[in-house]
């Protein structure tokens, strides 16, 4: 036990208190994240119910196949993340690193596909602003794309931050910072990653599927 005291910060009495504090910390932080996305979801719900036809018509211009593929990619990344957390709990360094690296790769694939989708929206003049052009559509369809870019954009920013967090964890794991007694950062990174994943689980049907025939 005495060899482990170095991982307990000075303000804590013991490892358990530190663990409780950091776990509670990430949960409280995730609550703020829910409130933050909540603002956008509120706007979406309001406008979707006000302009159902315009929104349904506009959502046909999203590529549901790519969206579905990305959903599978992201769900798989949550699996690899969960495996990484498990590996860290049993003290498997290479298991942790492997799980994290697979998660990072899947996260990057998701961001790549998202980037391709964004690029095609630019080509099709579906980006809100002065160049928005959707012939024969109601003006509210631009509102749909405003929400599409704001919601998926904020989600993508969270993905980028998540990839950065996981990369830091990989470096820490390689430097032997974790073992069976101390692996809380991996669990915290995992909780954040799962949260970002869950946000997408709501975004995908709301934006891509709802009202599609």
């Amino acid at each position: 036990m005495s060899s482990r005291t170095s991982t307990v910060a000075h303000q804590f009495d013991d490892a358990e208190q530190q663990r409780n504090a950091s776990t509670l910390g990430i949960w409280v932080f995730l609550v703020t994240e829910i409130m933050m996305f909540g603002g956008l979801f509120t706007a979406y719900v309001l406008y979707r119910s006000s302009y159902p036809e315009a929104f349904a018509a506009a959502s046909h211009h999203l590529n549901a196949t790519l969206g579905a593929a990305n959903t599978i990619v992201l769900l798989s990344s949550s699996l690899s993340m969960a495996l990484a957390v498990r590996a860290s709990q049993v003290g498997s360094r290479w298991g942790t690193v492997a799980g994290l690296v697979v998660t990072i790769v899947l996260g990057c694939i998701f961001l790549g596909v998202k980037g391709y989708e964004y690029a095609s929206k630019f080509e099709e003049n579906l980006v809100p602003g002065p160049f928005f052009d959707l012939p024969g559509a109601e003006p509210q369809s631009e509102l749909f794309f405003s929400l599409y870019f704001a919601m998926t954009g904020l989600h993508a920013v969270h993905m980028v931050i998540g990839v950065g967090v996981l990369a830091t964890l990989v470096v820490m794991a390689l430097r032997r910072r974790f073992d069976a007694d101390y692996h809380n950062p991996v669990e915290i990174g995992g909780l954040y990653w799962h949260f970002v994943d869950i946000v997408w689980i709501y975004l995908f049907p709301l934006l891509y599927l709802l009202g599609r025939h």
Binding site: G25, V31, T32, E33, M36, Y51, G129, A150
Partner: protein, 536 residues
């Protein structure tokens, strides 16, 4: 006290700019915040001075209408986001919370330092916006005015507020986790000082409300910068949605400002009445009740904004309900004073001032929560007077009381008592003279946010400006003698007030680790009357 044996404390433990800018000590971070928000307060005061100067005469002669719009906007933004919201939590909460619960530091010291840097970056953006021309939308940023109509620096200010919000969130997360996990042995939830309960409730609002204003400001910024038009009526967007989201944070934000002050008052009243608090659990619960109700009343800012009459009725009733926990506090403080052996040191004067001014502010809030009356006084000086009674008469009085009360603990020096009592009197008189006439002005129909007004309003406006001058002196005097006391003030012992509370059991100023050994708590909070403080 033998000066030669001066103990190592958090101030002299290390020297140099670097040791401050990279500190993780909650007490030093509190001092960094204290300096920053004092600068922002002075900036906000300059705007207030210019506003009151303009309103000295009916004609718009000191500044143009456009400039006036910028003045009241910048006054509001600087005072609310950069002074009042961080004031007591980030300075005194930061300093005292670990001390009060017997911890060595907050749970996340690095996040705490980060929160200060985030605040500074946000403040820098806002200052840049001020220097390059200011903003004229009002601190409320209502769309579509802020998105399409205004040609001022909305974006830079919005970025500044967006960033500063994260400093609030980090502070809130840190406080909640610290209160949950870092309490000393024996420090049960119902032995916590009420200051801690108040900060717990404040932190809940910070973590639940601030992200909503962040995303709202972000949507506003996207619309202004890239034409991502979420509130744009031309696309079918709803500007009223902005108001809903804005007030969903900005009404609870009022409680971010007032709840910590209420916590301060509970500490000061008990100390200078030498009485245990009356109705401890009711005061603790009322803090949480205010935090919860605070999230359900935002619609009372929108009675005249095409809100449905049924929604307005519900918001009206809920707004009245907030008066209940507020009154619980005021009655309990009064009951605590009853038969206490009261002394009138400066912190007590500020605390008593708080109770009086907050009561007036709260009661006039009921006028505004009443649907019919609100239509009459909406956007008049009645509203201006009401919220200044809460935010300045309440929050700022509490802040000044707290600064005086804990000054010996923070600096190891006593402030001089006589000028402090004079400044408390000046603030009280000056404040009332500034803002009470505004209730009458508003009731008579003078609208807010105009730089010129009909001549019949001049007498009351001159009174208001006179009061503001007295108020200004009342703020400048403490600035002078508090700085003076750092060098010339009497050296403070550990517990100069004979106060209960763990923070008084350690040295003044405390060592970096706060306590020589983790204290063990064996009694309730406010175990007054205490013995006279022992002279060491």
């Amino acid at each position: 006290m033998d000066r030669a044996e001066k103990a190592v404390d958090y101030l002299n433990a290390d020297y140099g700019v670097r040791s401050w800018l990279l500190t993780r000590d909650h007490k030093r971070i509190a001092i960094l915040y204290l300096l920053s928000i004092t600068v922002m307060f002075m900036l906000g005061s300059v705007f207030a001075v210019l506003i009151r100067l303009e309103l000295l005469t009916p004609a718009g002669d000191v500044v143009q209408a456009d400039t006036y719009n910028k003045l009241f906007t910048m006054h509001g933004i600087v005072m609310i986001f950069f002074f009042l919201v961080p004031s007591i939590p980030a300075v005194l909460g930061n300093f005292l919370l670990p001390l009060m619960i017997g911890a060595r530091d907050l749970a996340f010291p690095r996040l705490n330092l980060l929160s200060w840097y985030v605040y500074m970056v946000g403040a820098a953006f806002t200052l840049w916006a001020v220097i390059t021309g200011g903003v004229d939308t009002g601190w409320t940023f209502y769309t579509p005015y802020s998105t399409t109509a205004s040609h001022t620096n909305v974006l830079a200010t919005a970025v500044g507020i967006f960033i500063t919000g994260f400093s609030s969130i980090l502070t809130g997360v840190n406080f909640i986790v610290t209160i949950h996990t870092m309490r000393a042995p024996g420090m049960t939830w119902f032995r916590l000082p009420l200051f801690v309960w108040a900060h717990y409730a404040t932190s809940l609002i910070m973590i639940l409300g601030t992200p909503v204003i962040a995303i709202t400001i972000l949507m506003l910024g996207l619309e202004r910068a890239f034409g991502i038009g979420i509130f744009d009526p031309a696309l079918g967007g709803d500007p009223i949605l902005f108001q809903h989201l804005f007030w969903f944070y900005s009404h609870p934000a009022v409680y971010i400002m007032i709840l910590p002050s209420m916590g301060v008052v509970s500490e000061i009243i008990t100390c200078f009445a030498r009485r245990r608090i009356f109705g401890y659990s009711f005061i603790a619960a009322s803090s949480l009740a205010i935090a919860v109700f605070g999230f359900l009343v935002w619609g009372h800012h929108m009675f005249t904004s095409t809100q449905s009459v049924y929604a307005a009725m519900v918001f009206s009733v809920l707004s009245f309900a907030v008066a209940v926990p507020s009154a619980v506090k005021v009655f309990n403080w009064t009951a605590t004073l009853y038969r206490g052996s009261i002394t009138f040191e400066a912190p007590m004067l500020f605390a008593l001032g708080f109770i009086g001014l907050f009561t007036i502010g709260g009661l006039t809030g009921l006028f505004l929560a009443a649907l019919g009356l609100d239509v009459h006084v909406h956007d008049t000086y009645f509203v201006v007077a009401h919220f200044h009674y809460i935010m300045v008469g309440g929050a700022l009085m509490g802040y000044l009381g707290a600064i005086h009360f804990w000054w010996p603990k923070m600096t190891g020096r006593m402030y001089p008592e006589a000028p402090a009592r004079i400044s408390a009197a000046l603030v009280f008189v000056g404040f009332n003279l500034t803002f009470f006439p505004q209730f009458i002005l508003g009731y008579l129909g003078m609208p807010r946010r105009y730089h010129a007004y009909p001549e019949e309003f001049q007498v009351l406006n001159v009174m208001s400006t006179t009061g503001a001058s007295i108020l200004g002196v009342g703020y400048l005097v403490p600035l002078c003698y508090l700085i003076w006391s750092l060098w010339r003030g009497r050296v403070a012992e550990a517990n100069p007030w004979g106060a209960a509370g763990l923070e008084w059991r350690t040295n003044s100023p405390p060592p970096t680790e706060n306590f020589a050994a983790t204290p063990i708590v064996e009694e309730e909070a406010y175990a007054y009357p205490l013995k006279e403080p022992e002279v060491v």
